[in-house]
Amino acid sequence: MQFDSWSAFIAMGGYGVYVWSAFFVTFLCFGLLALEAVWRRTKLRDEARKQQARQQRIEKAKRES
């Protein structure tokens, strides 16, 4: 461990703002990409469910007519 205390670790020898913003932005970007991929999968699942429901309605209407 190169730092004596938490406050020294946060301060990063006076370069805290630069070091921590670099790490924060990096992993924020990765996190957003991951969230976007999961969100899009959810949307696709909704879309598939909607289409299947529509297909079933059409088939039901055909059978009943």
Binding site: G14, V17, Y18, V19, A22, R41, L44, R45, A48
Partner: protein, 257 residues
């Protein structure tokens, strides 16, 4: 070899392969990131000139290396898409481009917040920084061309051509620090491969950096696989295999997106 590769022109086969590969990139990627970041931030020694500010290297260099590495993989996918007319390869181009653009952005951003305390400026128009900015525009251009056409196949073809032509920028980025006088320093690690020189960095700093280089590869590859899977499902949402996965995916999806 072609007989072995050809089944992957089918979306369904690529999706199944992706599902198998995903945990092998995602889990080591996450674990190595944890190890590399803690090692780099807390245990690696400070630099004798730059003090603690140099710790930005542990995100800057991996992002920069893979911004170029995944560009080459995107261009190879583009070549396959153009020569063999394989749609899955076009979809791979579309999946790689945003992740590569984000890696390029990370390298530029972390470079700026490193440049400010060390060089006294966020940005200079030196050859390395400018050619890396062009790489970002190439990625954005590929993404824009892809959606600029009514016909998705036409967009995929145009994007593949731009991806392929843009490869010329990769050696320019790498050798920019040798060909021109740049504020950016010369290479520390990649010269092991391109110039057969030993790395000019202390081993206590090199090892966490190497860990993070592999970590970022794992994370970026996992993100690309997730995007490609979504794209494969989107284009074939009417086909039974895709519907089956989207219907049954609810339970297993939380751990295997």
């Amino acid at each position: 070899m072609w007989r072995w590769l050809h089944p992957y022109a089918k979306s369904e086969a690529t999706f199944a392969l992706n599902q198998k590969l995903l945990p092998w990139f995602l889990i080591p990627g996450l674990l190595l990131t944890l190890v590399g970041v803690i090692w780099g931030l807390a245990y690696a020694p400070p630099d004798y000139q730059q003090g603690e500010s140099y710790r930005i290297i542990f995100v800057h260099v991996p992002a920069a290396i893979w911004s170029m590495g995944f560009y080459v993989s995107m261009a190879i996918a583009g070549l396959i898409a153009l020569v063999w007319q394989i749609r899955t390869a076009e979809q791979a181009v579309l999946a790689i481009a945003p992740v590569g653009a984000v890696l390029t952005f990370i390298s530029l951003f972390t470079g700026a917040v490193w440049g400010q305390p060390m060089w006294g400026t966020w940005w200079v128009w030196d050859a390395r920084l400018t050619s890396q900015l062009i790489l970002l525009f190439l990625y954005l251009g590929v993404m824009a061309l892809y959606v600029a056409f009514e016909d998705e196949r036409a967009g995929g073809k145009a994007a593949s051509i731009l991806a392929l032509v843009g490869v010329i920028n990769i050696p320019i980025i790498h050798y920019s620090v040798y060909w021109w006088n740049t504020l950016h320093q010369q290479s520390t690690i990649t010269k092991v491969i391109t110039r057969f020189e030993s790395p000019s960095i202390a081993p206590e700093m090199l090892w966490p950096l190497v860990v993070n280089i592999f970590a970022f590869m794992g994370l970026a590859a996992a993100l690309i696989i997730m995007r490609l899977n979504n794209e494969l499902l989107r284009r074939e949402i009417h086909r039974p295999w895709a519907q089956k996965i989207l219907n049954t995916g609810d339970k297993e999806n939380s751990d295997a997106v």
